[in-house]
Symmetry: C2
Subunit: 344 residues, 2 copies
């Protein structure tokens, strides 16, 4: 049975959830796809790195991580190779790029992906930086090299957005995209609407995981702008970047405004938008009032929505409800299965 | 260039929208799929039937239909063959089954589909009868014959539901399905909530196309039960039929109940449900109260929603907003493109 080799760059919660799926679904993958993928390299910045051409023992390394927070220092497969060395030189068929997002450049993930594509390797990424900053170049390189470049997880975890359009809406042209894609601002706006002061909202948000240590990238709309750029680049071939998205965060939205809007049957949400005018795609992120009768008003907490308008299939919305980390791992996993299906 | 031959049974609004897509997208289909599908037979009950092994002139026959409501009686390709004769004997590669729904049996569409599958022909249907009444048998026959049997349009027009799960959620097991799938009851419940008496609601609904001449199949929940059976058969391998769906229509729901529920922040909707308990799939259709904060409360008019819960991808919803007839034609068209993609 063919054993496609996988190299993983970055191994946080998403990577670990992906690895657990590989273990749990091993027999199903063999039965359905006639292949037995193995992981030949895992690179991390703080947990150590492992490289083994014959395949790593995922159960053991997950267990080591769970116990000590890092790979076993005595593991004979410990390696000092960095991410770019592995991308450029290791023995693998599929690169899984899960390094942390650098929202203002997409690097070094873009270079990792280029290195793999230049070697005719398939690439899966859950990092939205490369899709937001360099999608067209990477897509064209993958096409030229005749390899897959999949990135479902970069927006809405494993909920099908990119694969939805690519696989189930053939020949449809996307003419408009709207969405609510940032859970931090979603949480903050909701809590403010209950009359809770901003300082308490942020404290509670940090406790519950909705608010990062530095929340500015979320509150100022940068995270939403990166997701908007990614959506428009893939679905509308916009060739845009996050800095070109007209961006307004929620920093000026007050508790009083939210409560006043609610009295008129409106909710304030941070909306992402993209549309074509005269052949040019315009993207924006801004707080907007939505009516309580609009589906968008019901998107709360970590849930998210993308609404797509097309020439042939009208308008449809896809909603992810209350995702957990498994759904991020599944996004990477489903992209892997798409690659295996093509190789059958 | 290969010219797959299509036979179409039934040629109402959906069939005509499908034919227009074949004309409009001819060059794109040739460029992308390397094939040039032609229509070799169209059978109708009241508009005449046409059979031509070399391919029919779709532009001319659509124009004839638009002008006179039927095919040109002098057309040299006029045929007296009925639907089952064409399915059993005509020269085609792909059968497109668009005959009217017989909600209590799924016939004669089931026999048309069986005839095609037995001849190793691919089948596309927009008729939910066969999916609600005989899905497992037809699916297994198609598998045995190694041909495609696609039916995206049977629930929510061309909005991806079946193809969504099949193509974008690999290895996910569906554990729960919920939805709002009947626009007549959706319209009636909304209008009643405005305080309009039932007789006026029905009259207005007939004018606007929401209410059929005989609305009982909708009001009593039969249409929703057939869609529920179809969803559960395909997504959960339920092997059920519409008569086994626990069914309660909206016939006993009063204007007063709806208004009282609204005063508590609730909307009454006709909900379809399916879930697994101890390996058995239970389906139901019934009016239920949903909270105004629930996405389901925002589904109005002809819009519809399916919410799917899976083991690996959590819960997601897909919503079709205000569909038109083009979306029905597109559902059939997208299934055709899936067949062409497999034949590349």
């Amino acid at each position: 049975m063919r054993q496609p080799k996988i190299a993983i760059l970055g191994f946080g919660n998403a990577g670990q959830a992906f690895a657990r799926l590989l273990i749990e679904k091993k027999k199903e993958i063999q039965a359905i796809y006639g292949q037995d993928p193995i992981v030949t390299a895992i690179v991390t910045r703080s947990r150590g790195s492992l490289v083994a051409e014959g395949g790593l023992d995922l159960e053991k390394l997950l267990s080591d991580l769970a116990k000590t927070g890092r790979f076993d220092p005595a593991d004979p497969y410990q390696s000092v190779a960095g991410a770019i060395e592995v991308a450029e030189q290791a023995d693998y068929d599929i690169l899984v790029e899960l390094t942390p997002l650098e929202i203002f450049s997409g690097q070094p993930a873009i270079d990792h992906i280029k290195a793999a594509l230049n070697r005719n390797k398939h690439v899966i990424t859950a990092n939205k930086g490369p899709i937001a900053w360099a999608y067209r170049e990477l897509r064209d390189l993958a096409l030229k090299q005749d390899v897959c470049f999949f990135h479902e997880t970069t927006v809405m975890d494993g909920t099908p957005v990119f694969n939805l359009v690519a696989d189930t809406l053939p020949l449809c042209k996307v003419t408009r995209v709207e969405g609510i894609l940032n859970s931090t601002t979603n949480f903050v706006l909701e809590e403010l609407s209950k009359g809770i002061p901003m300082e308490e909202v942020m404290e509670e948000g940090r406790k519950r995981g909705f608010v990062e240590a530095d929340p500015s990238l979320d509150l100022l709309g940068w995270d939403a702008a990166a997701k908007t750029a990614a959506l428009l680049n893939v679905l509308m071939d916009a060739g845009t970047t996050p800095d070109k998205i007209a961006r307004k965060g929620i920093e000026d939205v007050t508790k009083e405004q939210i409560i006043e809007a609610a009295s008129r049957g409106k909710r304030i949400k941070l909306l992402c938008r993209g549309e074509i005018k005269d052949g040019i795609v315009y993207g924006s992120v801004a707080p907007e009032e939505v009516d309580v009768s609009d589906l968008f008003s019901t998107i709360t907490g970590a849930s998210s929505v993308v609404r797509i308008t097309t020439d042939l299939m009208g308008t449809l919305s896809i909603v992810e409800h209350d995702p957990e980390i498994l759904q991020t791992g599944y996004g990477v996993f489903s992209d892997l299965l798409r690659i295996l299906a093509k190789g059958q």
